[in-house]
Assembly symmetry: C2
């Protein structure tokens, strides 16, 4: 019978890894998970498919165009495009069953039909933390969630990350004080600063709000020095505006808590150009660049929102969150050579190779070894010894245990250390 | 501004858990994962969305009707309905980069638009292992994968599971010998045995193939005794048919390896009524019931297929696999009260509660405690002590550390054990 072979392939914009890289990817995710759990965050899991009307309650513009939605029966369905909107729905839905402040983490896939470009995926993992308060939430949390991102990066051995932190209230206050009525346009322009570059930015800003105000804003965005000095410069502007002063006060507190938590000036800097779009965030905002690899964009972002679930409930639920885009992060780490040097401590300890009819004894040895918590498997196939050793080499096992009929008779095993190449015959109970 | 509130809800047929149950669910999944990894299985991850033509290369009938598919741009897309088909595609696609026999595991969500009934979900997790060989694969693997399901169940503390094992070749051989030309209809009927009951089954079988042959098949299906005795009864039928003898030989070997691996007769039984549908499986087939809770159906199934990826490649890739349907399993375990007695060892060790302006010292204490690997978080909100202690009670923390200005001055902490209720003032370096 002639079969019809369909070429095996996946859709463009989806990441799929070979086993070696997959083990590293999973190791990174499990280290991030450990940091989140060790700091008292609780896992939740929400469906990937939700009612379109619920998921798209707030969105508009770019995001909505990117959403995967479709009909099944009478229902309009949509795939989640982030973990924050489903979390808002979750908190509103189970409000009476949750304990606030609720520190939750969630790790899962999200979907965006983005234009296919390098490092942008249509299916990608996010690793999120959000802390949600009932009516109020201390600014300390803003620093705390950023410190967990720092711990997560350190736990995977990454060191060249740098948080770029701002507070939306600061610019809002300044724009108010300058009596700029095109405040939104200015914010959108600042959001694009890094993409369009200083010159285009300045020209466009000047044509929007005139030379004098434009110069003032450029001066603010240009503030330099240590983080403490930057706060000092902001205070020296001597602006009497509620939003501005709240923003600077909050930013100062975030810096202070980060410092206590051992996050150095090397790890974070105040950067007033960070906006994170117009929706959503109302106070602290931050992104994370890799120093020396800025061209890849932010690998972790987040911020503070006054009222997370306003589309689903009348309860006021302020929150602050972070999101590590681990699929993108993995892509970047692969590009810069970090993954190829990544140290995995999860390899198989033993591969047991029966030679001849020694399966019963071989399985006894396996059981014994596994009682001691070692990772072990058996090569069951009836192949040549050469082929079996070739397999051992390819899968990168630490030790091979050869069991022939002679070993069974003598109640021993022949163990070969695949790193040193050394072999010896011993009682398996000494393993 | 009056806002338009959308009622927060999810689609019917989707499982969503409150934090307490979610922690247990995740603990179960991580224990299954550990068993798979400790036994040398490698993780892979495939997209949830694939090209419809690839995912639906083989399916027809019931499954195809249940698939979520939709169009995006010019592409016909489908959500995966199991992890086996994507794995077949994966193995064919990366054939040259993989090491065979390839022992892979995958844990992820799959989608089926099933009729909404108790315990049947439209989005559910599967925890799969498959071992794939190049052209051949030892029957030992069939027993080995079942033994891993056994280990996984034991690791979560489950004991009343029982594997129901058969080999498709046995019935195939018998039907051949009886010269039954309606072999497929008979197989489909046997597959429904447990649903329709003995009486309807016998009547329908008789009207299909007549009284004499029907009686013979009933006799075979009725074989009783220990697993060894059942094998003996099969051999006594003295059927000279290649498929039959291969099937009995394989089943005997599976039982033998399971016995060596310490899987007792309590844990598995030969049951020739197990068919697992007509597609796909060619040798070993098995399901898993919970003794005393049989009405919930199989919680883990799988079997042997001669050629996994025949729709995607001309390479011959025999395999054997298991799949634990962990969403359904969780539902059943919740129903039978197992979840409510489940012991979690993952709670928070310490909740630090600053009283007054002691945040700096409190964070120092947190850093110190975390160096010792303890799970710790801080209550940042400015609330009454009563409210703070209430929070500690609700989240179920083991110890509360109270830090007032007095503690800072004396360089101590006030620690309260929430289980015993005991309190003491100590140097935090003694924690």
């Amino acid at each position: 019978m002639k079969r019809n072979i369909i070429k095996p392939s996946i859709l463009p914009g989806f990441m799929e890894l070979l086993p070696k890289d997959q083990q590293i990817f999973n190791d990174i995710v499990s280290k991030i998970t450990k940091v989140y759990e060790d700091n008292g965050c609780l896992a939740i899991d929400t469906p990937i498919i939700e009612k379109a009307e619920v998921l798209l309650a707030k969105t508009g513009g770019e995001t909505e165009k990117q959403v995967y939605n479709f009909q099944k029966g009478k229902n309009n369905l949509a795939l989640r495009f982030d973990l924050t909107v489903p979390f808002a729905r979750y908190v509103a839905q189970y409000y009476n069953d949750l304990v606030f402040p609720f520190k939750r983490y969630q790790i899962g896939k999200v979907y965006r039909g983005e234009r296919n470009q390098k490092g942008r995926y249509r299916e990608f993992y996010q690793c999120d933390i959000d802390v949600i308060g009932k009516e109020k939430l201390s600014i300390d949390n803003d620093a705390w969630v950023i410190s967990l991102a720092s711990k997560a990066f350190k736990s995977i051995g990454l060191s060249n990350y740098r948080f770029q932190i701002s507070n939306r209230k600061i610019l809002k206050g300044i724009l108010d004080e300058l009596e700029i009525d095109k405040a939104n346009e200015v914010m959108i322009l600042i959001d694009k600063y890094d993409k369009i570059g200083r010159e285009i930015f300045s020209n466009e800003l000047e044509s929007l709000i005139g030379a004098y105000k434009s110069e003032y804003i450029n001066k603010v965005l240009d503030i330099k020095g240590t983080n403490k000095e930057r706060i000092g410069e902001l205070l020296k502007l001597n602006i009497k505006n509620k939003d501005f002063n709240e923003g600077v006060g909050e930013l100062k507190k975030v810096c202070y808590i980060l410092e206590i938590l051992g996050i150095s000036d090397e790890e974070f800097e105040i950067n007033l150009k960070i906006i994170r779009g117009l929706d959503y965030y109302t106070g602290t905002v931050f992104e994370t660049i890799l120093v020396g690899n800025e061209e890849y964009g932010s690998i972790c972002s987040g911020g503070r929102y006054d009222n997370l679930a306003e589309n689903y409930t009348n309860n006021i639920l302020p929150g602050v969150g972070i999101s590590i885009g681990v699929t993108r992060l993995f892509f970047v780490l692969k590009e810069i050579g970090f993954i190829d040097k990544y140290e995995m401590k999860k390899e198989l300890d033993y591969l047991i190779i029966p030679i001849g009819d020694t399966i019963e004894y071989s399985l006894e040895v396996m059981k014994y070894i596994q009682q001691n918590g070692k990772k072990t498997t058996v090569y069951f196939e009836d192949d040549s010894l050469k082929k079996k050793m070739n397999y051992a080499n390819k899968i990168g096992v630490k030790n091979v245990i050869l069991i022939g009929e002679d070993e069974v008779r003598k109640n021993k095993v022949n163990i070969k250390n695949m790193i040193s190449g050394e072999s010896k015959s011993i009682d398996y109970k000494l393993l």
